[in-house]
């Protein structure tokens, strides 16, 4: 008997695990076919349960997805919402006048002063900006997998910065706040995310009344990634970006879209700018920062 300890233990362990693993395999199988169907229909309506993996890390998100799914189960269907957005987008294209004035004032600033008293909030992409671009003086609150639902519970992963957003906001009055979030939320219910995004932005402007709030469009992923991913694809990114833009217009915030400098001709992240098809290479973050400066927003 002594010689077969492991064999016996292994068999027991294996038999216990077996049904769970078969169930998992069955779910994966079902999901793959579902993905296939979704792609075929070119619909891309995100199912919360299928957001198992996260573009920019964030392990604990799966559970979160399910919670969010429960919360946001009511309301209109995705299809209805979609048509609504489309019409909205074509109607409103001009920026509010107020914002333009601000921009001109910003342009007069010296380059090294540009990011002073500025706060960046975002996910792993914004983290890259903090690490690989010169945004001298700016405070950054970002972490891999950061999302709108966990703004106040996730810790800051940026070197030498306060860990929680609450403290960062309480610390001082910022002049400008840049916010790039939305891609990690694609696995959640879209409507719920937009609602929450709006709430969080309004809360920000309440806590920081003097700050100019700049909502950033989320960066695209590459065409290849977009085509094989039912959730983190450019169609969904464009949809959430459209929603963010609407929120900006509704409340008079600025909205910027940095995709123009990293997109290829198909409107996806240029594969030459990235290795993992999601994040731009370290050397490109400076271009992003420079672009913000040049545009004076």
């Amino acid at each position: 008997m002594r010689k077969y300890h492991y064999l016996v233990l292994f068999m027991i362990g294996f038999l216990v695990l077996w049904p769970f693993m078969l169930h998992k395999l069955y779910i994966e199988q079902a999901k793959n076919t579902e993905t296939f169907v979704e792609q075929a229909q070119a619909e891309g309506a995100a199912e919360p349960e299928s957001g198992v993996y996260d573009v920019s890390g964030g392990e604990a998100q799966e559970e979160e997805n399910k919670e969010a799914a429960k919360e946001g189960s009511s309301g209109q269907t995705d299809a209805e919402q979609e048509t609504e957005e489309d019409t909205d987008l074509t109607e409103e294209t001009e920026e509010p006048e107020e914002a333009q004035e601000d921009e001109e004032a910003e342009k007069e600033l010296e380059p090294e002063e540009f990011f002073q008293d500025t706060l960046f909030i975002g996910d792993s992409r914004t983290m890259g900006l903090a690490e690989y671009a010169d945004i001298g003086g700016a405070v950054v609150f970002a972490n891999t997998g950061m999302n709108i639902y966990r703004l106040y519970s996730l810790k800051n992963a940026v070197h030498d910065q306060e860990p929680y957003l609450e403290d960062i906001l309480a610390e001082k009055q910022y002049r400008k706040i840049y916010l790039m979030l939305g891609i990690n939320e694609l696995g959640y219910d879209a409507e719920q995310t937009v609602k929450r995004y709006e709430e969080e932005v309004l809360k920000l402007s309440e806590l920081q009344p003097e700050a100019k709030i700049v909502l950033e469009a989320n960066l695209h992923v590459t065409k290849e990634r977009s085509e094989r991913d039912a959730i983190f694809n450019n169609e969904n990114i464009d949809r959430i970006n459209g929603n963010i833009r609407q929120i900006a217009e509704k409340h008079g915030f600025s909205y910027i879209d940095v995709n123009e400098i990293f997109d290829d001709e198909t409107g996806a992240l240029n594969p030459e700018c990235t290795h993992d098809e999601v994040h731009v290479l370290g050397k490109y973050y400076q271009q992003w920062a420079d672009w913000i400066r040049e545009n004076g927003i």
Binding site: F10, G13, M21, L281, G282, K283
Partner: protein, 469 residues
């Protein structure tokens, strides 16, 4: 379908073993052949041509060996006993033609990518080509008898534990067990132990360390600091080892479960004192193949010093070639040739005398040689080397570097790297061999198995690194 996937572990393997254990010997071989083809089918996404290719390889080489036997017999009858042992013309022709077929296909698939797009290397072709040619050459050399049963030869060549990533098993090593094998509970117990150990190395170490290398590529080589460049290539060195070693251990374990004994493929290579020694302990079955079928036939070291170095050069260029159709693999082979030549010229005596020196020397050379292996783009390779050795020139160091990067990544991967370094030393294997029948060891292995399965369940698993070759 890799061993470290849920499909393999919880679907293919239990169903396969269930049937396999119930069948009589002949049925076992047939089922092993068919089951392995199914396994292969999953690996190649049911590309029917690739499946035909491997079956054709079994059939043609089976016939080739039979053909050689036939020629030999005819020759013996015609010429009498005195020619016995000498190869006839017919045997030579058959051997040449069949080797041309086998290597021709391998070359075609490895290098067609240069000319035609969308040709993907059939998984495992590098391995099964070497395996079947070893069989043919052994038959020609009369080291092994030609197999009379095509099923047995098929089972040998396609046997799923070693089909896609080795070890490269010689036919003579499984000859007996294909005819008679006893499956014992002790054997299965050991097999599961080896498998679990390999799975742990692969999933818990290699995959996690691989993420650091992946992170570095996501940042881009231009934007990493010198310490991070070294950390990254260290992580890659550990990853490639535990990936491949883990896979080989799993293969050995699966072999035991099926009633076979496969040769060891690794013997703590990172503890070597010289590159010469390293390649006797790393991917042993590949080194053995090149020695037996290239180096020694070329004359080995018996034809003078100059000829010996020439033979070494051929072997190392071919080794580089075998790993991939990229120029950097040739460069890598060349680099290994140079290092080993210098060692042969006398350095090895110094390294073996002062062991500390040998370890330091290898601790430096192992990551550097893997850097040449890992980075296929020549421009990028140059950038990386300028990062590793910034004093060479400043050209590659213009990019913005995040000065806290080393600190950031050592915090994330420090434990994994330390665990990897400890596991390189052979300590784990020693402890395992000494106490493997103890209950606590079984419990420990069970925990490793559970942790690995949990990682796989959570989808933290990566495709097998060595798949490409």
């Amino acid at each position: 379908m890799v061993f470290s996937s849920l499909e393999f572990l919880f679907l293919f393997l239990p169903l396969f073993l269930l049937v396999y254990y119930l069948l009589p010997l002949r049925g076992k071989n047939i089922f092993l052949f068919l089951g392995s083809l199914v396994f292969y089918g999953f690996g190649i996404a049911w590309n029917i041509y690739y499946l035909v290719l491997i079956i054709a390889s079994v059939l043609l080489n089976f016939l080739a060996a039979k053909g050689m036997e036939h020629c030999r017999r005819k020759n013996r009858i015609r010429r009498g006993e005195e020619t016995a042992g000498k190869s006839s013309m017919g045997e030579k022709v058959i051997l040449t033609l069949s080797l041309c077929y086998n290597f021709g296909l391998l070359l075609f698939f490895k290098y067609a990518g240069f000319f035609v797009e969308n040709i993907i290397l059939p998984i495992g072709i590098s391995f099964y080509t070497f395996q079947i040619t070893s069989y043919l050459i052994d038959v020609y050399r009369r080291k092994t008898r030609p197999e009379q049963d095509v099923i047995r030869l098929g089972a040998y060549l396609t046997m799923f534990p070693q089909l896609i990533a080795g070890p490269i098993v010689n036919y003579s090593e499984v000859y007996k067990r294909l005819r008679k094998r006893k499956i014992t509970l002790t054997g299965c117990n050991h097999g599961l132990q080896y498998f679990t150990l390999g799975l742990g190395f692969k999933v818990l170490l290699a995959n996690q360390l691989g993420n650091l290398w992946e992170d570095i590529q996501t940042i881009g080589y231009e934007s990493i600091s010198t310490p991070l460049a070294w950390l990254g290539i260290l992580a890659y060195s550990l990853q490639i080892y535990f990936d491949f070693y883990g896979y080989s251990l799993m293969a050995v374990g699966l072999g035991k479960l099926l009633g076979f004994r496969f040769p060891d493929n690794f013997r703590q290579p990172y503890m070597s004192l010289s590159m010469t020694e390293f390649w006797r302990r790393w991917h042993i079955t590949l080194g053995r193949w090149f020695r037996e079928y290239v180096y020694i036939p070329l004359g080995g070291n018996r034809k003078g010093k100059v000829r010996q170095f020439f033979n070494l050069l051929i072997v190392w260029l071919l080794t580089g070639f075998w790993h991939g159709a990229n120029w950097n693999f040739l460069l890598w082979g060349l680099l290994l040739f140079l290092i080993i030549s210098v060692e042969k010229a006398g350095l090895i005596k110094v390294l073996e005398r002062w062991k500390i020196l040998g370890h330091l020397y290898m601790f430096f050379l192992i990551p550097v040689s893997w850097a040449v292996f890992a980075i296929t783009d020549p421009v990028m390779l140059q950038v990386y080397f300028l990062k590793l050795f910034p004093f060479i020139g400043g050209a590659g160091n213009q990019g913005v570097v995040f000065s806290g990067d080393f600190e950031k990544y050592i915090k994330i991967y420090g434990i994994g790297l330390a665990a990897g370094l400890v596991c390189c030393s052979g300590l784990v294997e020693k402890i395992f061999m000494k106490w493997r029948n103890k209950l606590w060891m079984s419990l420990l292995l069970l925990i490793i198995f559970g942790a690995a399965v949990w990682c796989m369940y959570r989808g933290l698993n990566d495709p097998f690194l060595y798949y490409r070759f």
